[in-house]
Structure formats: structure tokens, C-alpha cells
């Protein structure tokens, strides 16, 4: 009986100990699934711990907990705090999930600290980075974050007249599949194309012009051919292009091939394709304060202004960069994580590699858009 009791005690104690170990030092899969649950183990005993806890709560969408832990919560409502992070109107932020975050202490004293928080959000079109510099203050024996709230502007009720071009297409009948058209495809032409060696692969960039008087839905496909004429690889421009081209519009494109050396490539076969589509010039997106910022941290920055009367949920900015001789040297892009409200400027910044930035003399930016419930 003594042995039995001993076994029971050993099993019970071992089980409790294993649970404690698994909770204090959780396995990676448990950490990934816990999200804000790891907060159980966190504390606000230091400035970094307080920011770490807050970031975990944001990642787990534990808004109430996160808001209640803030030192300056009296300055804004919980709803404003949530809208700061997820957007007031549906946008990339609204359905983003926190992929990871980094903390970097900038300054610390006995009762105040400054910590940089980099939140890496994952969205359907890729990741975006939200960097906040947080002040953390000590209240008693606990640290609390002063959240630098960014309040999205509210658009006052108003009437915005719109006057834009629109092209409609009459198809043969409702039973016809899209693409099986009996009209000639719009005329498009590649006006520039450069293959370059980049990051252990080949990048092909260029520009495509719609020469026609009707809108075109365009894609560009490239096939790399070896010296013996065989195809090495084939890729298309995917989202590194503006697929809808109005008459006489030009779009940049970029096609990336990974793990292929330019020296192995003999020639490139380009296949632009175009299909007639119904399109409109609305919404018109203006670009203001466009500026090329030098290295370090070279970027093309500016502000997008939605000149139409409808909300644009996602905007995609494509930047084309030229050297002094007007040669195309780079194509880059950025998705804007906040919705574009009518007449409200929203900043963007397209990063440039440092070695490219020093060659750039001029640049051009265009924006394409997505509005929910409305298709291009």
C-alpha cells in the first residue's frame, strides 16, 4: 500500500510539474497558438515586459485587455484605439493578423522609457510593417504604455460630383464565357524591358503601353530561354503590374525568377496579353507631395488622395524609377494599409534598395485600387 501511495504521489507531482514546465516554458506550437494567452505569464514589471504584453494582446485581438492596460486611455475610447489598429473603414488592416513583432528600447530612466514597437501584420496581399514609438511610464511598481493614438479622420456628409470616363462592353450573350470574345483584342506594346541579375535570381522589368482607344485587361508573361533554346522558367507579372489599362496608359511591370543566373539565359520571350474589358476612370487617385528620399532608407514617398466619392478599401502604388538617361532602372510597389476616404490624403512610402537609389534620377507612381462590392 505504501508503494501504491508513493506511485500515486509521484504521478500526481510529476503531472503537475510537467504542466508547470509546459506553461512556463511552452513549446513553440503552444506559444504560436496562445497569442495573447501568453499574457498569463507576462508581467508589467519592466518597460519592455509591458510593451511585450501589449503587443501580445494586440496580436490576440484582446482589445479590452490591451486598452485597459494603457496609461493614457482617458485620452481616447477603446473604439478609437481599435480603429487605430484595424482601421475605421474596411482596409488591409481590418483583416490583418499579427505575424510577429519586435521591441527595441530607445531610452530608459527610473520611471520612464521609450520603446520602438514594430508590428509585422500579415494580409492577403502580403505583410506590412507598423512602427510605433511608445512612451512607457512607471505607475507604482507597474509599467504602462502611453499609446500614440492616430485617429482616422471622419469625412463630413457631403455631395461630391464625379465626372469620369467609362467604357462599357456588350457581349454576345449571357451564356458566353468571359474571354471568349469575338472582338479584336486591344493593341498593347512593351515599350521597355530590362533583365537584370538580382538577389540570386533574374528580374525582368519594363513598361507596357495600351496603344488602343479602348481599355485593356493586361498581363505580361516572360519565358527565359537557355542557349540550347529550351525554356528555363516561365513566370508572369502577377501583382507587379496594373492589370487595367485605360487608352494610352502605361504600366510598369516586374517579373521575378528565383534561383536562375542571368548568365544561363540566352534570350527572353515576352508575351503580353490583352483583353477588352469594361472599365472606368473612377475612382481617380491623385498623388501629392511625391518625393524621392535618399539613402539610408531610400524610398519614394507621397500622399494618395481619393478624388472620387467612394471609399477605396485597398490601394496599390507602383513606382517606376529611371536614371539620368531616362532608362528604367527599377520597379517597386507598396500596398497602402489604410482605406482611402474621399479627399483625405493617405501617406505611402515605397522602399528602394540602396544601390538602386543612387542611380535614380526621376520616378513615376501610379495607383490601382480595390473597392469592396465593386469589381474592376
Amino acid at each position: 500500500m505504501k508503494t501504491g501511495r508513493l506511485i500515486a504521489i509521484v504521478i500526481a507531482v510529476a503531472t503537475v510539474a510537467l504542466i508547470v514546465v509546459g506553461t512556463v516554458w511552452p513549446v513553440p506550437s503552444a506559444v504560436a497558438l496562445a497569442g495573447s494567452g501568453t499574457h498569463l505569464l507576462s508581467s508589467a514589471s519592466s518597460a519592455q515586459a509591458a510593451v511585450d504584453t501589449l503587443a501580445n494582446e494586440i496580436g490576440g485581438q484582446a482589445w479590452e485587455k490591451a486598452y485597459s492596460s494603457l496609461a493614457n486611455k482617458s485620452e481616447f475610447t477603446e473604439s478609437e484605439f481599435v480603429h487605430d489598429l484595424t482601421g475605421t473603414y474596411p482596409s488591409l488592416r481590418t483583416y490583418a493578423t499579427l505575424d510577429s513583432f519586435d521591441l527595441r528600447p530607445l531610452h530608459a530612466s527610473a520611471d520612464e522609457a521609450q520603446v520602438q514597437l514594430k508590428l509585422r501584420w500579415s494580409t492577403v496581399v502580403g505583410a506590412f510593417l507598423d512602427t510605433r514609438t511608445l512612451r512607457v511610464v512607471k505607475n507604482g511598481d507597474r509599467w504602462a504604455v502611453l499609446w500614440p493614438i492616430v485617429k482616422e479622420p471622419r469625412v463630413p456628409p457631403q455631395v461630391i460630383p464625379v465626372n469620369y470616363l467609362r467604357w462599357d462592353v456588350i457581349y454576345r450573350g449571357p451564356e458566353d464565357d468571359w474571354g471568349s470574345q469575338d472582338v479584336e483584342a486591344p493593341h498593347v506594346r512593351i515599350v521597355d524591358m530590362h533583365p537584370v541579375d538580382r538577389s540570386g535570381g533574374v528580374v525582368i522589368m519594363g513598361e507596357l503601353l495600351n496603344e488602343d482607344v479602348v481599355p485593356a485587361f493586361v498581363t505580361v508573361k516572360a519565358t527565359l530561354l537557355a542557349k540550347n533554346g529550351s525554356a528555363l522558367a516561365s513566370e508572369d507579372s502577377f501583382d507587379k503590374i496594373s492589370h487595367v489599362l485605360l487608352p494610352k496608359q502605361v504600366t510598369p511591370f516586374l517579373i521575378a525568377f528565383h534561383d536562375i543566373a542571368l548568365s544561363d539565359v540566352d534570350s527572353v520571350h515576352m508575351e503580353p496579353s490583352a483583353t477588352l474589358i469594361a472599365a472606368s476612370a473612377d475612382p481617380v487617385i491623385g498623388i501629392e507631395d511625391q518625393r524621392l528620399n535618399p539613402a539610408p532608407g531610400a524610398s519614394l514617398s507621397g500622399k494618395l488622395v481619393n478624388q472620387s466619392g467612394q471609399v477605396v478599401n485597398v490601394a496599390h502604388v507602383l513606382g517606376t524609377f529611371y536614371d539620368k538617361s531616362g532608362q528604367l532602372v527599377w520597379v517597386a510597389d507598396q500596398y497602402v494599409d489604410r482605406a482611402l476616404l474621399p479627399q483625405v490624403p493617405v501617406s505611402f512610402a515605397i522602399s528602394l534598395p540602396a544601390d538602386i537609389a543612387i542611380k535614380v534620377s526621376t520616378e513615376r507612381a501610379i495607383a490601382t485600387t480595390y473597392s469592396s462590392g465593386r469589381f474592376q
Binding site: 510537467l18 509546459g22 506550437s29 503552444a30 494567452g37 485587361f217 508573361k221 508572369d236
Partner: protein, 576 residues
């Protein structure tokens, strides 16, 4: 009586086709539908642009396909599942008899009908293979015990064929069952041997065996069953060796820490265990105080700890990389099966002591456990949105649309049902271990249709596959969740149609050539197809025939009473 209870509890639920709402039921039906039309060709072109069904043991799905010829796939599923439930009650009774007396074993079998984990796996998880293999395995274990104790060839044959059939139903059950179930049974044989040897009693049962005989009998059944399993599932092993599961692990909530993620603790601990949680102290105290129950307690404890997922480091330590591949709820299921003999004991003692009050209490506890687990499929449904995919299938099957591949977004586990209904091929699927496309294996996402739930990994996989749409003949995307629309718009896809009252939109790319077969190196040769179509199902038919051979009563087994248990334990104190 126990079968009648199973009939009363489960038959109405199965006739209502409740398991069709579970996570995996349609997955098994999809596999079965392939066997139905291509019995000897395990290459299924409908998922992942083609994958081999030899990557998953086929027995329940093959039986499902056979029965479906009479009553259709859905009802065949319910029939096979019901048979598995009946077999489980029988298996638990026979397994429990190794440890406890007939009365307690009968209560254990009755408890299996109401077992939360069984209901959870049947109605919420839809794990047909696990719930089909476990009863076969439990029924095999008493034969293992008899073979090792008495060396009777009939037991060897019956046990061996049942083990092989269990492996043909679910290889993991045999693999882990060997440690969790078979080792305790072998330990029991040793215990009973030493015990009878010391007390010099019970020799008339042939209970005494020599060490060489024990080793020889154990070794022989391990070797021969191992060889038979290797042969019966040879195409599976070949596929596993040639194409090991090296893809980036996919997160699964059963690997969570249930304290840090209480919602998963509720899902994977409270619901499967139900009222068994109240019996845990009894299991611990009785299992440790009765020497011959200790092997069973240790088996239970190990399964219990692994079943806790990431709550303890045990799962990761014991399983290694397999921890990130397997799901942990099956360990909880096995733990509850191992706990049932204790539950039988507890029930007998409670009823002896408290009579009708105990009967009422136990009935209530069993009913609540069962009800919670069955209802869980409604409270936490696999698919929050209930919608039909028939119109999507019709759309794909007309006007040559099925010459191209498709992918769905926001369809959840409806993709299995859609795959059953359509002739078209998809680049997506629900059998992650069977996929070979590099775009799907390198990012750590699960099914593309649920990409957003896998975070960056899932969305990267979706983006990669859309990037190579023309490579795979991927022309159609069916969207139920507008979340994905921005990606499609910016990546050059265009909306071409609406279905289901505009709740499903069809998107297309123009410059895509019709689909051509891919993954050619993974296509199993014809001889493997023949083996796959004959041996697994053949093993189960052989097991049925062999088990039907009448037993020769060479002894009347005396159920060993766990009399030590009564020495010092006051039940009321233990249970409180």
C-alpha cells in the same frame, strides 16, 4: 443490452447524418468515392493536381465504398461508423476483462457508448479511421494476452489478423497502441505470471510461462504481425520512404497549451473527457494501489500527458518531430479507452455502495458527457457557414469547365464534398500529407481554401499557387469569403460569374491552358494498385473469418479480482 444502448444513443444521430457536419467525414467519403470508381488505381487526380491515396491506410474507406454500392456514400459512412461503435463496446468489454471482473467490464463497455471522446471524434472531428481501428485493436489485445500466456495458435491467428486489420485501418493506432495498450497487456502477463508463481496458485489456468516462452511468443507475434503489416501496407511504406513528410509543420490547436489557450482546453480536454475528469483521482489512486492495474495506469498516464498537447513538454519529447505532424486528440481518445476499466470498477463500487442514487448519478454523468460532445459539433461547428456546393459542382461539370483546375476560398471542409460531386481537379485538398506541390509544402499552411487561418504561411502558399496558375491549369477560383478578393483583383483575376444567390463568385484567368497531369513520378505502379485493392480489405475479411472460428474452451478464465483495492480505500473519500 450494451449494444441496445449503442443503438438507442447513436443510431438516431447517425440516421440524421450528424457526422457529415464534422471536420473529416467528407474527407473519408471523398477517399471512398475514389475507391468506388477506381478500386485498383490509388492515384486520385482530384486534389493537389494528383496525389496517391496509398499515403493513407484505406480500410474504412474501402468498406465504405463497398457498402455505398447498396445505400450510397453518406449512409454507408453512417453504417461503417455505427459498426465501429458496436465493435468498440465489444472491444472495451474484452479488453477490460483482462483487468477487471465481468461486471466492471460490462460497465466499462456501457461507458464506451457514452464516452465523450468517442462522440467527439465521431460527431465533431469525423475521425473514422481512428474510431474504426481502435475497436479492432482492443479486440485483438485479449488474443495477444492469451497467446503469450497459453501459446494457443488460435489466439495467435485471431490476434494477428485483427492487428493487421487495425493497421490497415489506421497505422498510427497500431504504432502508438503497441506502446500504450500492448505493453501494459504484456506487463500484466508478466505480473500475473510472477504473482501466480509466488503464490503457487492458479497453475491450473496455465498461467505459468517461462521467460524464454514469453519472449519467444511475444517476439514471434511482433515479427509476424510486423511483416504482415509491412506487406499489406507496402504501397504506403513505399510512398512514405520515397516521399517522407518533410513539409513545413501546420499549426493545429490540439498542440496548444490548454491553460494558455483555454478555448482549446475546452475543445480538446473538457469535451472529450467529460465526466471522466471527475474519475481522474480514482484512476490514479486505484491504479497505483492495485499492483496488477499499474501497467494500465502507466499506459493511461502516458496517453493522458501526450493528449494534453502543448500543456506539457511530454508530447514533444516522446514524439519528436511527429509532434508537429500528428494531432493530439487521438491520444486523449486512447487515454479515455485505457481509463474505461477503471470507470467500470468505479461504477460497480459506487452502485454497490449507493445503489439507485449511484445509478442515477452515473447515468446523468454519462448522458451529459455524451450530450456535450455530440452537441459540440453544433456549438463549435467545423463549418460556420452552412451552404451547398452542388451548384459549384454543376458549374464545373458543364461546358468543359472541368478541363481546367480550380481552387476554392472560404469553403472550409466543403471542399471534400465538392470534390466528390465534381469531375474537375483542384490544386487544393484536405490531406496534407499527400500533397507534393512545392507551393503547398514549403510555407506551413493547411488547405488553401482556409489560407487566412494559417496566417502568413497560408497566404504565402495561396499567393504562390496563384502565381503559378498557368503551370497547373488553374483557371477557376470560387470565392465564398470576400477577404481574398483584393489578392485576386491585384493578381490579374477577373470575376466571371456568381452562384448561390451571389454568395459565391467565380473568378478566372484568361491565359491558362487546360490542365495536364502532373506529379507523374508519384503515380503508384499497377502492381501497387492491385496490392492496395486486395490486401487491406482482404486482411479484414480474413480477420472476420478467423475470429469466427469457435473457441475451444481450454480453460475458464477466472477474472482476477482487484481485491487489494478494498484494503484501505474508503470509496467516499476517494471520490470526493
Amino acid at each position: 443490452m450494451i449494444f441496445l444502448a449503442a443503438l438507442v444513443v447513436h443510431l438516431p444521430l447517425l440516421l440524421m447524418k450528424l457526422p457529415l457536419k464534422s471536420y473529416d467525414a467528407n474527407f473519408h467519403i471523398f477517399f471512398a468515392s475514389h475507391y468506388l470508381h477506381n478500386w485498383f488505381d490509388p492515384w486520385n487526380p482530384k486534389w493537389y493536381a494528383g496525389f496517391s491515396q496509398t499515403t493513407y491506410p484505406p480500410l474504412p474507406q474501402q468498406w465504405l465504398a463497398l457498402v455505398s454500392r447498396l445505400i450510397g456514400l453518406d449512409m454507408a459512412y453512417m453504417t461503417i461508423q455505427f459498426v465501429a461503435i458496436l465493435f468498440l463496446a465489444l472491444g472495451v468489454y474484452r479488453f477490460s476483462l483482462l483487468w477487471v471482473d465481468r461486471r466492471a467490464a460490462a460497465f466499462a463497455a456501457l461507458a464506451s457508448v457514452f464516452l465523450g471522446s468517442e462522440c467527439f471524434l465521431v460527431y465533431s472531428a469525423g475521425q473514422l479511421s481512428t474510431t474504426f481501428a481502435a475497436p479492432l485493436y482492443l479486440n485483438a489485445l485479449p488474443y495477444l494476452s492469451q497467446w503469450v500466456r497459453h501459446g494457443k495458435w488460435r489466439s495467435f491467428l485471431k490476434g494477428g489478423t485483427l492487428f493487421v486489420a487495425a493497421a490497415a485501418a489506421h497505422h498510427a493506432t497500431l504504432l502508438f497502441g503497441s506502446v500504450l495498450f500492448a505493453l501494459p497487456v504484456l506487463a500484466l502477463v508478466i505480473f500475473d505470471h510472477t504473482n501466480t508463481d509466488r503464490k503457487n496458485t492458479d497453475r491450473q489456468e496455465g498461467g505459468r510461462i517461462s521467460v524464454p516462452a514469453f519472449l519467444l511468443r511475444t517476439g514471434s507475434i511482433v515479427v509476424i504481425v510486423g511483416a504482415a503489416v509491412a506487406l499489406v501496407l507496402l504501397p504506403f511504406w513505399i510512398a512514405l520512404i520515397h516521399y517522407p513528410v518533410t513539409q513545413t509543420p501546420i499549426p493545429h490547436p490540439s498542440r496548444a497549451n490548454y491553460l494558455l489557450s483555454p478555448q482549446w482546453g475546452l475543445n480538446y480536454f473538457v469535451v472529450p473527457y467529460g465526466a471522466l475528469i471527475l474519475a481522474l483521482p480514482f484512476i490514479l489512486l486505484r491504479g497505483s494501489s492495485v499492483p496488477r492495474l499499474r501497467p494500465l495506469l502507466l499506459g493511461f498516464w502516458l496517453a493522458f500527458l501526450v493528449g494534453l498537447g502543448g500543456t506539457t513538454p511530454v508530447g514533444r519529447m516522446v514524439l519528436g518531430r511527429a509532434f508537429d505532424v500528428l494531432t493530439m486528440e487521438r491520444f486523449s481518445y486512447w487515454a479515455t479507452l485505457l481509463a474505461l476499466p477503471f470507470v467500470g470498477l468505479l461504477a460497480t463500487e459506487l452502485i454497490d455502495r449507493f445503489q439507485m442514487r449511484a445509478v442515477a448519478g452515473l447515468t446523468m454523468a454519462a448522458a451529459l458527457s455524451c450530450a456535450l460532445a455530440v452537441a459540440w459539433a453544433t456549438y463549435r461547428p467545423a463549418d460556420a457557414a452552412d451552404f451547398q456546393v452542388n451548384t459549384v459542382a454543376s458549374w464545373l461539370n458543364r461546358d468543359g469547365h472541368d478541363r481546367y483546375r480550380y481552387v476554392t476560398l472560404g469553403f472550409g471542409n466543403k471542399i471534400s464534398r465538392l470534390a466528390v460531386l465534381t469531375d474537375a481537379s483542384s490544386v487544393d485538398g484536405e490531406w496534407n500529407s499527400g500533397r507534393m506541390l512545392p507551393e503547398l509544402t514549403q510555407f506551413g499552411g493547411g488547405a488553401l481554401t482556409s489560407s487566412k487561418y494559417f496566417g502568413k504561411g497560408g497566404l504565402d502558399a495561396l499567393s504562390a499557387i496563384l502565381h503559378h496558375a498557368d503551370r497547373y491549369g488553374l483557371k477557376w477560383v470560387f470565392v465564398k469569403d470576400p477577404y481574398y478578393e483584393p489578392l485576386l483583383v491585384f493578381a490579374g483575376w477577373r470575376r466571371v460569374d456568381d452562384l448561390e444567390d451571389k454568395t459565391i463568385t467565380v473568378w478566372s484567368r484568361e491565359d491558362v491552358a487546360p490542365a495536364i497531369p502532373v506529379n507523374a513520378p508519384q503515380i503508384p505502379p499497377r502492381w501497387q494498385g492491385l496490392m492496395w485493392g486486395i490486401l487491406p480489405i482482404g486482411s479484414s475479411i480474413l480477420a472476420m473469418l478467423v475470429v469466427l472460428i469457435p473457441e475451444r474452451r481450454w480453460h475458464r478464465r477466472r477474472a482476477v479480482e482487484p481485491s487489494v483495492a478494498h484494503e484501505n480505500l474508503v470509496l467516499g473519500r476517494v471520490a470526493s
